[in-house]
């Protein structure tokens, strides 16, 4: 028997679409709002809303440590968390290519459902479209499955606003764990390297953000370290804050396996994407407490204090600096060139 695959009929809006939704999506994601199967879900909630959206096109769909489904929940949830919001609802839009194996889709959807449960969010509405398969180009396998998720979260009463503009002279920079795993895992996967020791770090960071923000430590900004890596994210923060941020190379946490991979490939972990790490600017008096909170949270065991912020000296510009392992000082500019395309 041939393996069942997605056909154009699954996107017709007719019977096949109905069965796909009922047997796969509704079953995996079910909750009281989605189960009503209305054109729009009506949801409870009040106060300030945070909202975001992200599309996921990573190739391959499944990679060591995760898959596009888990990623599509983590990416949007983590973006909401950085605003200080508590994530509640997600939408899920699927663009499927004709010929995609149903078993592949099922595995991805189940992973999404599990990750949503872990993150404490409900997938409340969705959509499916089927498109003709695209040609393979440049020897790279094209994704047969793309997911868009939008997310809504609520900012609890009394929580102060977070953002790069709130970073202050003297703030301490923390990173919640080791750098570059997601990038390295995807790249190794694409190169066909059978290296069992490179795993994506894709993870929802609600426990970590929640502990920090509920504790009263003065967090001024949080960012999700994704494409472009820590250097890109902190460089943007420095410019937005109008400050200089210095990162100390000796304090940067990098897994040994990732460091070895970078050495061979000529990569710099500072510019490699993660999918489960926060970088946090916190008031200096609260830095040690914040570090302990992050280390005590899920996915935060290897958090480190990695740098500090200071006012821009006369005649200089707001930027990101690296104090190198041998004591040198240099600018960490933005990432130039393609980096690694389609890692999320």
């Amino acid at each position: 028997m041939q393996e069942p695959v997605i056909t154009m009929a699954h996107g017709s809006g007719g019977d096949a679409t109905g069965r796909l939704i009922a047997e796969l999506f509704a079953e995996a994601f079910h909750n009281e709002y989605l189960d009503r199967m209305e054109d729009a879900s009506v949801l409870p909630g009040s106060g300030r809303i945070a909202m975001t959206t992200d599309s996921f096109v990573v190739s391959p769909h499944r990679f060591p440590g995760g898959d596009i489904g888990r990623l599509s929940v983590c990416g949007t949830v983590n973006d909401l968390l950085t605003s200080g919001a508590e994530p509640r609802y997600l939408t899920a839009g699927f663009i499927l290519e004709e010929g995609l194996a149903l078993s592949e889709l099922r595995a991805v959807v189940q992973s999404m459902a599990e990750t949503a449960r872990e993150a404490g969010v409900l997938i409340v509405t969705g959509d499916t479209k089927v498109v003709e398969p695209r040609r393979q180009r440049g020897g790279i396998l094209q994704s047969g499955l793309m997911i868009n998720t939008a997310g809504v979260g609520f900012i609890p009463e009394g929580r102060t606003e977070l953002g790069a503009a709130h970073i202050e002279d003297g703030d301490v920079i923390l990173v919640s764990g080791t750098l570059g795993e997601h990038h390295a895992a995807i790249m190794a996967g694409r190169m066909g390297l059978e290296n069992a020791s490179l795993f994506s770090d894709n993870a929802p960071l609600g426990d970590m953000a929640g502990r920090l923000l509920r504790s009263g430590v003065r967090v001024h900004a949080m960012r999700d370290v994704t494409r472009g890596g820590l250097a890109t994210v902190l460089g943007e923060s420095a410019r937005a804050a109008g400050l200089q941020i210095t990162v100390e190379e000796n304090r940067l946490p990098v897994q040994r396996e990732v460091a070895d991979f970078c050495g061979i490939m000529g990569l710099d972990p500072l510019y490699m994407g993660n999918e489960g790490k926060l970088v946090i600017a916190v008031a200096p008096e609260d830095a040690e407490r914040a570090l302990a909170l992050v280390r005590g949270s899920r996915y935060g065991e290897r958090a480190e204090r990695i740098g500090f912020c200071r006012a821009v000296p006369e005649g200089e510009e707001p930027l990101l600096l690296l104090q190198t392992a041998i004591g040198g000082r240099r600018v960490l500019g933005p990432l130039y060139g393609e980096g690694l395309p389609r890692i999320c």
Binding site: D268, T324, A325, R329, Y336
Partner: protein, 350 residues
């Protein structure tokens, strides 16, 4: 002789002797110097100058033009390392050609090309064989393997260069006055380092073969300052570099390539400074001879940068009309390029 990193760092920070201009010849050294923030650790009396050791940077425009033509030819596929993609010829870059439907594949290793070509015997796969003595054995191995597997549809378009003659040219340039050379560690691993002794003695300039970590670079710079005025060659990269080099790699090079004259971007023809395929490997050559035209247009000062006459920051285009997003010259494109590394690390040209 100083032993600890602290002693070396202190010596370099407080040096107050006559100005010492040190050229790092190798592009990987340029990148490592930037990455480690080494200029910030040196006294103003020690100046590091980037040399002509970035392979992409010294490649002439007609070579890129030929690659872009090949990519548009029916049944021809150009295979290249990523660094070369955004370098413009007299008109377009390979990246632009690719966007227009040109057949260009980027690989991490030439060996990846073997399977591609074997699976697609109807088309000719041309590798953009750019590089120095370090990369030449890799291309030779590619051809050996292609022969062994009977893969006929692999060819090279070569722009291969060798180090000794161009360093002699830099020494002859009266406007530069280099006080010492960080000799290229990777090149020396293949060639050994005796080939620099003649130049060192003739010009009374020290060469120190250096590794690529921050500590190794500081130790080598320190040693060069101590050797100031002495025409000698020392090896501080002993774990990797042997006096005689790598004989096997040298044999591989000799089996497939012979020395030839080569045109360097911005510097013109330098006799005996290149490698081209031997007559016996003519059928592996995609037309590398005669690619000598060098149109470095748009006011780009690459030639002066590559020979150390000006620092990248001395070029009027630097950081204004020429940035990594929108590079005018190859030195701003390549990750080993002097301009690129000055730009991304905030290195000043003092």
């Amino acid at each position: 002789m100083m032993r600890t990193l602290d002693e070396i760092t202190e010596f370099l920070r407080t040096y107050d002797g006559p100005e010492m201009r040190i050229m790092e010849v190798c592009g990987s050294h340029t990148a490592a110097i930037a990455r480690n923030g080494i200029p910030s650790l040196l006294s103003p009396g020690i100046r590091l100058i980037s040399g002509p050791g970035c392979p992409v940077c010294v490649t002439v425009s007609s070579y890129i033009d030929r690659l872009t033509e090949l990519a548009m030819e029916p049944d021809t596929v150009v295979v290249s390392f990523g660094d070369l993609l955004r370098v413009k010829g007299s008109g377009r870059s390979l990246a632009e050609t690719k966007a227009d439907g040109g057949k260009v594949i980027v690989v991490y290793s030439p060996a990846q090309m073997l399977d591609l070509a074997a699976a697609d015997p109807g088309r000719c796969y041309v590798f953009a064989a750019v590089g120095f003595e370090t990369t030449a054995p890799v291309y030779a191995l590619l051809l050996e393997e292609a022969e062994r597997r009977g893969i006929r549809n692999i060819r090279l378009l070569t722009s291969l260069k060798t180090m000794p003659a161009v360093m002699e040219r830099v020494c002859l340039d009266a406007g530069v006055s280099i006080g010492g050379f960080l000799a290229p560690g990777h090149v020396c691993a293949v060639t050994g380092y005796e080939l620099f002794r003649g130049t060192a003695e003739r010009f009374g300039v020290p060469f120190v073969v250096s590794g690529f970590t921050g500590e190794q670079l500081l130790a080598s710079i320190c040693r060069l300052v101590q050797l100031r005025g002495r025409g000698t060659v020392e090896n501080l990269y002993r774990t990797v570099v042997k006096p005689e080099g790598n004989r096997e790699a040298q044999q591989l090079i000799r089996r497939w390539f012979r020395p030839c004259d080569a045109v360097w971007r911005g510097m013109g023809n330098i006799p005996g400074s290149g490698l081209c395929l031997r007559e016996s490997a003519r059928d592996r050559d995609a037309g590398s001879a005669g690619l000598v035209e060098d149109r470095a247009g748009n006011g780009c000062q690459c030639a002066s940068v590559l020979t150390g006459r000006i620092p990248p920051t001395g070029c009027p285009l630097f950081g204004a009309a020429c940035t990594p997003q929108d590079p005018r010259g190859a030195c701003m494109v390549s990750q080993e390029g002097a301009c690129f590394n000055y730009f991304i690390s905030g290195r000043k040209g003092k």
